[in-house]
Symmetry: C2
DNA sequence: GAAGGGGTGTTGCCGTGGCAACGGACAAGC
DNA sequence: GCTTGTCCGTTGCCACGGCAACACCCCTTC
């Protein structure tokens, strides 16, 4: 695990996929903000855990590269896959509003990548030692939260269906809409998809087969096509 | 339906349950912000619909008094109860990040009350004609979005359980934690609770009976107690 | 008191889907 | 070649819960 102050690194140079939280900032402004916030950079490998449910942390995770799965478990040991986060996504923002600063989810990397760990305390505290760029960070954070909440709404919309087939169709429709195409490839394997849809893997396979037989969808491995 | 400019009314005087979005504002500042934003006041009666799924609107709804149920339906006509909003809650903030400004939910009043309809366009537009109080409104809005985020996460946590009993126990546990007591009264009737838990009303009644028989809970009508 | 209506409890039927077990496909390593 | 591991498909069993129908309670209205 590499964890170094960010301003020693060269993130400011790759402004192509500038994370949303620095949207509208010049490279020099980014450097200033990161100094103020004490942003740290962390490289990770597949399988590595970026944050664990129950951890106490003051840092929000911002993915620059790579992919991670966000999960939450319950007392009985069931796991539920909340979402897939990729470059420029935010994770763990809920600690900002939790007095105990307790992380509610576990994020596991599936691809090698880099993340920023941002101590958000200073952002929410108006009296904090943050430079005058604070209000612009807050504004970007607001947009991020808006996007995050929409993701949650979409997931809720999936889980609100009673039958597995309906949940699948809802999920596929959302994906097709996001990709602007009825053909898409999932990052999730069957186990993970089942976790996300709150279903059993075997039942998921069975239902996919039925839907293919009925001509609703076509698929091979992780490539899917929505027909009809 | 009464819909008048707000600064003709006397909302500024009742600063007791000041809505979060005006948190930290003095009465005169509130008046100024409301002028800038063109806030409108709307009184409503039980059964009245505050906003309908699919509507195009630029206004976010802010409840001052009363209660409303937030629902979302699907193509097959199934309805799902997302949440209960009460005084100082916000509804419909998702339109802020939807380019089509399309409302995703339906809000139905269950008690007589008053709401503010706030045109939020000017808040997100940094070039807009909004006074210098804008950044403080954005900041409050961020906290509101954080609270909303947690509500969504809690609902997801409920729906992530496979069995109806587990969903019920999760829901009850959340309520008990929020009320700081294992005894609480629900605002929802059986139909609405079933909608919220993604279950059938009859199955819900059956499971509640079983849980009472097994000594897990006790209840009469809408008064519940979590035992064990 | 009678009638009506909304909310709730109950019960029989049966389908969706959870669970467990197994087999096949494919890749990596020896 | 063989082995091991991972992922996916399939199938039998059966329980949870959706659905429909009916009964009961409580309240309002006439």
């Amino acid at each position: 695990m590499s964890l170094v102050p960010l301003w020693d690194s060269d993130i400011g140079s790759s402004t192509d996929n500038l994370p949303e939280i620095f949207s509208g900032f010049s490279p020099s402004e980014i450097t200033r903000v990161m100094r103020c916030l004490g942003v740290r950079r962390r490289a990770f490998s597949p399988g590595e855990i970026l944050a664990r449910e129950g951890d106490i942390s003051h840092a929000v995770v911002l993915l620059l590269q790579g992919t991670a799965l966000v999960r939450r478990g319950d007392a009985e040991g069931n796991r539920h896959l909340i979402e897939v986060i990729t470059a420029s996504d935010v994770f763990g923002e809920e600690i900002l509003w939790d007095p105990a600063r307790r992380c509610q989810h576990t994020a596991t990397a599936t691809e090698q990548g880099v993340a920023l760990m941002i101590d958000m305390q200073k952002i929410l505290d108006p009296q904090g030692p943050l430079c005058e760029l604070r209000s612009r960070v807050v504004e970007n954070l607001l947009r991020i939260m808006g996007a995050k909440n929409r993701k949650l709404q979409e997931h809720l919309q999936v889980l609100a269906h009673k039958s597995l087939r309906a949940r699948l169709l809802e999920f596929f429709t959302q994906h097709a809409a996001a990709n602007q195409s009825t053909i898409f490839t999932l990052r999730l394997n069957r186990n993970e998809l089942a976790e996300h849809l709150n279903a059993d893997r075997a039942a998921l396979s069975r239902e996919l087969s039925r839907m293919k037989a009925e001509g609703l969808i076509d698929y091979h491995r992780n490539s899917f096509q929505l027909l009809r």
